[in-house]
Subunit: 342 residues, 2 copies
Amino acid sequence: MDIKTFNGDFFIPSNAKTAFVLVIATTDVSLIPGITVAGATPELTHFTPAADAEFLIKGKCFVINTVPVTPTGIPTPAIISRASLELVKIPKFVVNAGSRVKPNLPFIDLGGEPGKDIRRGSMERETADRLIKNGITLGEELSNAFDFLIIGESIPAGTTTAMAVLVGLGYDALDKVSSASPENPKDLKRRVVLEAIKDLPSELLLKLAKLSDPMLLGVAGIALGFKGKIMLAGGTQMTAAAAIIKEFDKEKLKNIVIGTTKWIINDPSSDILSLAKDIGIPILAAWLDFSNSRFEGLKVYERGYVKEGVGAGGSSIYAISKGYTATQILQKVEEIYESITK
Amino acid sequence: MDIKTFNGDFFIPSNAKTAFVLVIATTDVSLIPGITVAGATPELTHFTPAADAEFLIKGKCFVINTVPVTPTGIPTPAIISRASLELVKIPKFVVNAGSRVKPNLPFIDLGGEPGKDIRRGSMERETADRLIKNGITLGEELSNAFDFLIIGESIPAGTTTAMAVLVGLGYDALDKVSSASPENPKDLKRRVVLEAIKDLPSELLLKLAKLSDPMLLGVAGIALGFKGKIMLAGGTQMTAAAAIIKEFDKEKLKNIVIGTTKWIINDPSSDILSLAKDIGIPILAAWLDFSNSRFEGLKVYERGYVKEGVGAGGSSIYAISKGYTATQILQKVEEIYESITK
């Protein structure tokens, strides 16, 4: 099977009623020049989560004219998620944890707010509390319909806030988070995080309000409320979500796995395996191979561009667990890629 | 069985994966003194939908200190919906079609806006269009998880906007809609509707933007997008939702039933049976009997107070279809009633 397992076993429940949840948010950290390539310009990063959600659900974007691209024009990993979820046809829910731009779609609102620049500002404690609590309520409600939840994310600069959370919670995480660029701007991220963790409050919720982005709190809340098994579908950011979950309920981790891509596992600039090990959570990775793709914009994944996002890894893993091969997924991705680039 | 059928047959699919959707909204029509009792004062009616949603999901209200009550203190029919849905344990989704007050809960937002006073203002055409389109998208997405949808509503003064829509679409509906009060303020409703339908645009969407409330458009959209069977859970308002659905897709009505209460069927001040017959839609009614209740606030249902709302009839019908009796539902309702009044 085109899935590899790391750091312990996790079995995707067979015949489980499954849903995909995409949690979107923005943080003003993404406006720091050079910190993220999840948008053609820093300002456009605030449109990326809404556009990703629109592309995932409707196959086209409304808040911007095209799909989200990097400054060099490489399209969003949402094309992989959409391809995989078209194969398996499970319900998809968009959850807004705090995005500056709202998608033109029905979405579930958690009552959050867009994240601030963590060097200077902090979320209100009550906003963080509301995000977690509303997330729990949503997770509980989804438990009445589903046994297995795949939770993806879209938030530009989310690896920086993830690193801040991990460091703030005491993990050895400096320089270990990934990037959508092959040139991970580690010095910049480190400077932002070190500035953010100065004078950190000791209370957990205040700490999270200061360091976290809204997506991580929404994801943690949903996972805490959900009664079945959960795949956190993302890269190093999802180790921060798992770390937050662990702070609230250590036992919960038994039902949780991170589902990501080969490109995150193989990323020399980050270390998801050591992060996951420190937290105590297994990882599944979709062993996709885009090296023989007809499209340059997909081939570059093999050179470390994009890597993951919008639950690309987790949705691929789910499609593979349902009998599709990595090759079939690539074919579907190419079909979608062709339709958006012509 | 404690369900009666009118105007044709409808079979609740057995073993269907079922969800309950509560669509909430407000209209400034509810601020017209005397038009509705769905709130202790006209101003408080704007809190009722959010509070109903909170009570349904969490068993308590946050936007107001107590459950919504009529000016004489009779509590919301949400207690019946909560009782029935506690028995059958299906997932519940709150959908905001345009409510002035938002619930402190995760809810699905359709991108609508609170409704205006239909005598003076109109919704923007594009808002009406967005509500229908986002509703369709949501319905389509829910089809990936569910075979049967129960759609309830909470919107004070919704019977007046329902009458306006029905009259505007050419139905003989004047004076035929119900009320949460045993003294249906028919003259006032008639005056409001006759003023609203003056100089009515001929295009369907503009007509609906002028006369409809956001809830009806949201419900119609969800139903239009959903692929399985649907129960519109409400009183005479749901005939207006069905009439809107019929304008867009006549065939769709084959999969739709209205699910309501005995108190709506027996209401001498309204005529749901003739409305449903004109539209061509069957009705199921939960034959609940509160006459021997221990609580005066429930006994008054038998004298025409409250009657229906928040999907009370439809959720009771669903519970009955799963083997619970009307007596068991009353017991559960009394349990909840006792907990909120002590």
